[in-house]
Structures are given as C-alpha cells and as structure tokens.
C-alpha cells in the first residue's frame, strides 16, 4: 500500500511538559485508522502536529513525510495544498457562511445528498447551528471535499448514535472505495473498532502497539 503520511520521533512540549514522547505513525492510502486513548493521551496534539497546527507548542521535534516527501518544515497551508485535510475539534466551520456556502467553499456539495440533515439547514448560517450540526457539517466538508489524507478530531462528538455510525461508515467508505487515508481521534475505542482498519492506542503521550482490525 502507498504511504500517505509517515511520522517518526514526534515530541511536543507545552512549557516544561512533554505531552508526546517519541511517537511514530504511518498511514497508507485506502485505510481507515483511529487514534484511541483517554483524555490527555495526546491525540489532538498529534493531529495538530501532523497538520502543522501545533503553533502554540513551546517545542516540537520529529519528522513528517506526506506522499513520501519530506514535509516537516512545511506550513499548514502547504500541507493542505498537498492533500492533507485537517478538521480540528473546535472552530471547524466558517461561522459567517451558510451551510451550503461552507460546503461550496470546500467543494463538498455532494454531502447534501448523503446527509439530508444538512440539506434542511442549507441556507442557515453555520454560526447558529447546534454543536452536533456543526460537527456534522465540518466532517462532511472534509469527507466530500478535496483532501486525499483526512485527519479529523473526534468526528462523532455531539452526534446522535445512529448518525455517528453513519459518519464512521462513510469515513470507512471514503478510505476503502475512494482510496483515501483517514485518521481520526476517538476517545472511545469500542465505538470505532468495528469500522476502523487500524487502532493506534496512545497513552499519556506514548504510543502503544498498533492493533490491526
């Protein structure tokens, strides 16, 4: 399988506290992986680092490759142009734009047919959506948009269980049928284990042995 994202020796410090200790990760195209672990395990920090968004860390180390190219020093924008699409946990939609315009901006209008919940909200500004609706919009924008490597922080947060399952199902399909590399952060392993190809456990900043599905 072709390597989409590879990182090694990732260390991230906030002030004097190291929150990631020598973490290593590899993603292949066509696979759906989940970073799992309790709160404070470093899942969001690892996603931030991979996306070039760990700008408030006091120090970072590690190497990153995207599509086999050295990308450690690339800005978040350059990583995105290369195909990495990151959906952070907060501030993940454009609040002044309507739902439809959010999807248009990300070239993801196909999401409307898959998620009728969004179609009903198409004209509404994203700023007035509920937490769950906003999360669905953010995930759908990424899933049906341009990126070939999707990093999504807690995609099912705030979603009703049935909708959460549909989202995970679609993420798995985006990986297997569209050939994308999908990595999500998820605090509850049992929620994703039936969908994901690989589980990457993290515990207090250290990676535990990978679990293949």
């Amino acid at each position: 399988m072709r390597s989409a994202l590879w990182c090694d020796g990732v260390r991230v410090r906030y002030g004097g506290i190291e929150v990631l200790h020598d973490v290593r990760l590899a993603l292949a195209y066509g696979t759906f992986s989940a970073l799992v672990g309790p709160n404070g395990a470093g899942k969001t920090t690892l996603l931030d680092w991979c996306a070039g968004a760990a700008t408030d860390a006091s120090a970072t180390e590690g190497r990153l490759r995207l599509n086999g190219r050295e990308a450690t020093t690339w800005s978040a924008a350059r990583r995105a142009i290369t195909g990495l699409r990151y959906v952070p946990f907060e501030r993940n939609v454009f609040p002044a734009l309507s739902v439809l315009d959010n999807l248009r901006a990300c070239a993801a209008t196909d999401a409307l047919s898959r998620f009728p919940e969004l179609e009903a909200l198409a004209a509404r500004p994203a700023a007035v959506l509920s937490g769950g609706e906003r999360q669905l919009l953010a995930v759908a924008s990424a899933m049906f948009g341009r990126g070939s490597i999707l990093l999504i922080d807690e995609p099912t947060h705030g979603l009703a269980p049935a909708l959460a399952d549909r989202v995970l199902e679609d993420l798995a399909r985006a990986a297997r049928e569209d050939g994308r590399a999908v990595l999500i952060a998820e605090p509850q392993p049992d929620r994703v284990e039936s969908f994901a190809d690989f589980l990457w456990p993290l515990d207090r900043g250290a990676r535990l042995p990978v679990v293949g599905a």
């Binding site: 454009f94 734009l97 248009r104 990300c106």
Partner: protein, 588 residues
C-alpha cells in the same frame, strides 16, 4: 442649508474622502488577513514624502510620482510586510499583542527612516495630485478635486464589495483564515492581496492629504492614524458605514469652523474641532460592540517565580550613576521613571490585559506632580489610578484588540485635550525638599522602583495571583468560578495606572518641567513596543529596556524609535528572552 454651510460642507468632502480611503484600506487588510494594520498612518506618511521627493527633488511630473508611489512602491511594501513580518507571525498563530507590536515596529521604523532621510522640519510643499480651481454646481462653489475624490472612494468601495462577495472560497478565507488554510483554500494569496490593497490605499491617502497640511513625519503619521476611528466605528466590517463616518466627521469638522467662541470655551472648541477624528475614535471604541481579531494564541502561563535579578540591576544602576557627570546624571533621572512606566505593562500582563494608553497615565502623573508641588509625586499614583479606572470603565468587558485600540484612543484624547492645552499644564514641576539635588533625586527614584518591584512580587505571588491567572487564562471560566472579573480588572487597571503615573511624576519632577511631547501617544506606542519586544512578564528586561531607550536617545535624538522598531521585528524571531529564561531561570 445656507450657502455658507453648503460651502463648508463641500470643503469637508476632500478630508472626508481621504479619511474614507484610509478607512477602506484598513478594512481591506483586516477583513482578509485579520490583522489591524496600525502601521497604515506611517505607510501613508512615507508614501507622501516619497512622492514629494520624486516630484520636488527628482523633478518627475506629479502624476508619474504618484503612480510610482501608489502603484509600484506601495504594492511592493505590502508584499514585503506580508512576506517578512505578518505572514510568518500569522503562520505561528501570533496573538494580538504580537501583531500590534509588529505594526508599531513598522510604524516607528518608517517614521525613523523618514526622519533620517527627509528631516524633521515642517513642510508645506507637498505637490497636489488633483487639479486646483472650482466649478459651480447648484449655486455652490465645488473644488474640481472633490468629484474626482468622490469617484475614487466609490470605485474603491465597489471594488471591495465585489471582492468580498465573489465566491464562498474568498468569503471563507475572510471568515476564518486559519481554518481556510486547513481546507487548502488560497489564504496566503488573499492575504497578499489584502496587504497590497491596504498599503496602496494608505499611500493614496497620504498623497491626497499632505498638500492640505503643514507636516513632518510624526505629525503626518498621527493625522492619518487618527482616521482609524472611521474603520473602528464601522466595526472593521462595513465599508459603507466607514464611508458614512468619514464624510460625516469631516463635514461636521468643517461646519464647526463657522462657530466662534471666546475664552476657555473657544479653546475647548478649537481642540474638539481639530481633533474630531480622535473624538470619533474614542466614541467608536466605547460604544461599538466588541470586535476581536480572529487570530489568537494560547497564552503562556505567567511566571510566579521570584528572582533578585531586577533588584541587582537597580543596585548596579545606582553604582554606575554614582560617578556620572552632572549632565549624564540629569539624563539618567529618566531611567527609573521610564522603568516604572514599562513595569506597569507587567501589572497589566498579570491579568492578560493590554493597554496602549500608559503614556497618557504617565502624563496624568506628571500633571499631578506639577499641580501639587513637592509631594505631588506621592499623589500622582492616586490620580493615575483614578483616571485609569474612569478610562477603563466603558471598555471593561472588552479584550484583546478592542481594549488596545480603546486605550490608545483614550491616550490620544488625553494628549489632545489635556496635555496640549496651556490652560491645564503647570509651568514648572517641583521636587520634594529632601531630593532637590539630582543625585539625591535619582536614589529616591531607585528606591521607588524597588518598592514597585516588591509590589509586583506581591502581585505574582500573593493571594490574588491565582485569581489573576484564572482571569488571564479564560474570562468565561473565571466568571463561572465565581471570580469578580470586572472588579479584578478594574483593580489591575488602577494598579498599572498608579505605577505609570508615578513614573510620569518622577519624569516631570526630574526635568522640573511638564513636557507634553514626552507623553504623546506615539511615545506610548514606542514604550509598548519595547515592553512587548523584551517580554511584558520580565521585570529585569523591562528595566534594561528603559536603560537602553534613555541611553540611545541621549546619543541621538529619536534613536530609540529605530532601535525599538528593529527590536520588535527581530527579537520575537530570536526569542532571546526565552533563551535567557532557560539559561538563567525565571525572573520576577
């Protein structure tokens, strides 16, 4: 409207058009980049000087000069600012203070360069880009330039409107630049367009305004900067509101020239008329709903450790000053005074507050010292604290950029309406009886700085320190935790105001005269930029910065501006304060 009133209104249209273009320039940059370009006044000034030089010295035709400045120099400057200063800052999610500091760094650098190249003498020979003469429309004499200026404003406004509505991708970048970058949208390219548009409009404003004024580099910079109120009143969003406020203010300003009062009322009216854009800026920051910069960074927790380093530095300063010649000793009197003003930023920083008005509070202290001779120094902190509370009340719930601009507006208003009015300023400032000699006064000052450091220690280690840390970290969380946020903030403003006022009182007492130029808003910006460059939370570095500023200015007047300008752009990249912190441990 009578013929006279209509003539005056038409006369105001020229100024209104220039202010509108400046406001639209600020909006163009802010809406695309999220950065409030506080350097636009200096950019406009530099453009005006460059155009004047090309026309008067290089003998180019006026249109060629303006074309080179607005269509070649300005875009180049905009691209350089984006590539070298603001782009990298935004890439690492710089906070409001860092972005403001960089803007002020650019301002003081451009003013410093303009002063070095073109001198400080006031000029009245800026070439006019627009034709002279008048035409008669509806019984009113209209300057020929006015329709052209109005057409320019309309064209720029339409261009901005078209740009901001053209496609969801562009609107997405305008809405949240950081998220747009994650989504692979062309945020950087739009950023460059925003900077190019902003600098082009700033230089165009300078080129249009300069022929109407008697100007020198700092004065022209301030005149253009005062039009910031137009953009603030429009909440940094609405181009049509910005245009409305620009023309409205300029027309009222023109109409007021027909009103004549005598005595003190006349002086006040003159001050209001000539500073009407300052009044607009002040009112806009007080009464517009909160606006905040979309770019924020997680704040570094303040150090709660104690170090003796600043006390050692004070002792070293005292030892060095023991052997100074009389003239150098006189200069050195300013160091502890300035150190106190810079340390007041440390007080504000303890609660995560920003203020660009500390120079004005220092000025209040200086006035208090002058009004109550001798021991007025000790009353100055009370006066500073009281004025700080009054100025803070209307914007107590604001944060970040809004608070910074509001305090700057208050400082500008105090400077224009109080410090510059002979009616209010004392003719001399006396020292306390026991400190009449310079040397005695210097050691008295150093003792007061040491006392202030002890107070700072109590602030960062005392029982209220955790509350301030909580407030600094998250205002919402602090409120929900039962902390009286407004009261704490007022107390911090009062404390910082008292410290700055004490510094100002010592400054004026050291000079034995009240010098309003010492407490101008521009001076305050240099001090803010210096404090930001070395780190608000580092008392030792703040005292060292005071030493460097005073010593640099004693050798070459105005050298500190260039030095601070360079420092604000270079030091944050070197992060030497962090290196020092790692090497020598935390400081007070």
């Amino acid at each position: 409207m009578s013929g006279g009133a209509a003539d005056l209104a038409v006369a105001g249209l020229g100024t209104g058009a220039a202010a509108a273009l400046a406001g639209l320039g600020v909006l163009a940059t802010y809406r695309v980049t999220g950065v409030l370009n506080v350097a636009f006044g200096a950019i406009g000034m530099f453009g005006a000087y460059l155009e004047r030089s090309l026309v008067r010295d290089a003998h180019l035709p006026v249109y060629a000069g303006a074309l080179i400045v607005v269509c070649f120099f300005a875009p180049l400057l905009g691209l350089c600012l984006e590539a070298a200063v603001f782009g990298p800052l935004q890439a690492r999610a710089a906070d409001v203070a860092q972005l403001l500091t960089a803007g002020f760094g650019v301002t003081v650098l451009l003013v410093g360069i303009a002063t070095a190249v073109w001198g400080t003498e006031a000029r009245t020979d800026a070439p006019s880009l627009l034709p002279g003469g008048t035409m008669r429309i509806g019984g009113v004499d209209v300057p020929t330039a006015v329709p052209i200026e109005l057409a320019l404003v309309l064209a720029v406004a339409l261009g901005l409107a078209w740009f901001s509505r053209s496609g969801p991708a562009i609107r997405a970048v305008i809405d949240d630049r950081r998220l747009a970058e994650f989504a692979g949208l062309p945020a950087r390219r739009l950023s460059r367009i925003g900077w190019v548009a902003g600098t082009m409009l700033a230089t165009l404003t300078g080129v249009l305004l300069a022929p109407q004024l008697r100007f020198d580099p700092p004065a022209l910079t301030l005149v253009i900067f005062e039009t910031l109120g137009v953009a603030i009143a429009a909440r940094l969003r609405s181009a049509s509101l910005a245009i409305l406020f620009a023309f409205g203010t300029a027309i009222i300003q023109a109409e007021l020239t027909a009103v004549h009062l005598t005595g003190a009322a006349g002086s006040v009216l003159d001050a209001v008329r000539s500073n009407l854009f300052v009044v607009l800026l002040l009112l806009a920051t007080w009464f517009t709903p909160a606006f905040t910069a979309p770019v924020t960074a997680r704040q570094r927790p303040p150090s709660r450790s104690i170090s003796i380093a600043p006390f050692v530095l004070l002792v070293a300063l005292g030892v060095v000053c023991w052997n100074l010649r009389a003239v150098d000793l006189r200069t050195a009197l300013t160091i502890p005074a300035l150190a106190l003003v810079l340390l007041s930023f440390r007080v504000l920083n303890s609660a995560g507050l920003l203020s660009l008005g500390q120079a004005a509070l220092a000025g209040i202290g200086a006035l208090a010292a002058g009004w109550a001779s001798g021991w007025g120094i000790l009353g100055a902190p009370l006066a500073g604290a009281a004025v700080a509370v009054v100025l803070a009340l209307p914007v107590l719930r604001q944060a970040g950029l809004h608070l910074a601009v509001a305090t700057l507006a208050a400082a500008t208003a105090l400077s224009s309406f109080l410090f510059d009015q002979p009616l209010f300023t004392p003719s001399s400032v006396a020292r306390p009886g026991f400190a009449q000699a310079d040397r005695a006064f210097l050691y008295f000052e150093l003792c007061l700085v040491a006392l202030a450091l002890l107070c700072l220690t109590a602030l960062v280690r005392g029982p209220g320190a955790l509350r301030l840390s909580a407030l600094r970290d998250s205002e919402i969380a602090a409120r929900t935790a039962g902390i009286a946020v407004d009261r704490e903030r007022l107390a911090v403003f009062a404390g910082a105001g008292a410290m700055a006022a004490l510094g100002g009182a010592l400054w004026a007492s050291g000079d034995q005269v009240f010098d309003p130029t010492a407490f101008e808003p521009a001076q305050g910006l240099i001090w803010f930029a210096a404090a930001a460059a070395v780190g608000f939370a580092d008392s030792t570095a703040l005292i060292a910065a005071a030493i460097v500023i005073v010593v640099a200015d004693s050798y070459v007047a105005g050298a500190s501006a260039i030095l601070v300008g360079v420092a604000t752009l270079v030091l944050p990249r070197l992060r030497w304060t962090e290196v020092a912190r790692h090497a020598f441990g935390p400081m007070v």
